[in-house]
Symmetry: C2
Subunit: 204 residues, 2 copies
């Protein structure tokens, strides 16, 4: 039951943000009573906290898979984009704003994840890219990894990117492609162009 | 006298941030009494507000000069970098943090400037770059202009970019070059490389 509550809460949070989803809503969607939810969780913030924690663990194992599959750094970046694209249309623009403003503990957990795992995996990507000659040797990996980490949060901020004007997919696509291109060497561009052409064939 | 106070306050704010600079400090540096300052300004925030307003006007006329000089969009971006580099070593990392946290009116003025003039001039740069075939035709000018505007604030945030680790110059250099490269076409790269080589000759 705990897992079902978490799964449903995640779906609703992603779709509507956190503030507008009540314990009542979650219970109703699952056809259970609010009392049942309170047997497992003290309040909505506890559910949110658990949802973020679980998601973090899942993302980490996805990243491990990526390393196992032996993608090169350029493919890796575009693979992350594909993953984000798949989920982005389900994400409410309210989600990040709600968490940041009203759920400090959950936001601290997200930040911790961002500072730790995400930062580390981007840094690794950049360093691997330089070693393989796909990214310029003269870039500063720490500064650019930080830039990329911050872009993730920027993209979720509806005050910066109006959701009337752009879909989350458009924003992510634009930012990641621009980010990767800014690092590429000539050799990197060859691989990048191959990947982009191949992907466009698959889509159209 | 008013202009001298503003000039000295600007110098001190840039160097030490706003919070740690007192009316006393400004008066002492000018060899005048605090009373003289209070004849012109009600408080420190009023001075700060005026400093930001004046700086905005000055920056605007610099940007107009740039357009008159007929630089192409790539040169224009790197020219802005040079201007920033010249001033960056004088900027305290506390400045933006202080203004954001403790001087809401002054920060609102800065934001207004950022949203208006800076946003507009970056958008124009990107559109001109596309028209001249230097930037990719498939980029989204609005999304990338927004990214660049936000980078200006990111670079000033010592929580993101540790000032022990990097100088403001390094951060600005890294971010602008990465930003421009991410937009370039092959034709754009030719011009960019010429400019970079030329600049390196001048420096070394």
């Amino acid at each position: 039951m705990k897992q079902r509550i978490l799964a449903e809460a995640e779906r609703l949070f992603w779709k509507y943000g956190v503030r507008s989803v009540t314990m009542e809503d979650i219970a109703k969607q699952l056809g259970i009573s609010k009392k049942t939810i309170y047997q497992h969780f003290n309040d909505k913030e506890e559910i949110l906290y658990q949802v973020i924690q679980d998601k973090t663990v899942r993302n980490l194992s996805e990243m491990d898979c990526m390393a196992i599959e032996g993608l090169n750094p350029v493919e890796e970046m575009l693979y992350v984009l594909n993953m984000m694209q798949k989920h982005a249309d389900q994400v409410s623009p309210n989600l990040m704003v709600d968490v940041k403003r009203y759920y400090p503990q959950a936001f601290a957990l997200f930040r911790q994840y961002k500072e730790g795992q995400i930062m580390r995996s981007i840094l690794e990507n950049i360093q691997k890219g330089i070693t393989q000659g796909l990214y310029r040797p003269d870039i500063n990996p720490t500064i650019l990894a930080r830039l990329r980490v911050e872009q993730i949060e920027l993209a979720f901020n509806p005050e910066l990117f109006s959701t009337d004007q752009f879909t989350m997919q458009q924003i992510q696509y634009e930012l990641i492609h621009h980010f990767v291109r800014g690092m590429l060497t000539e050799k990197g561009f060859t691989i990048y162009n191959q990947y982009v052409n191949q992907y466009n064939h698959e889509v159209h």
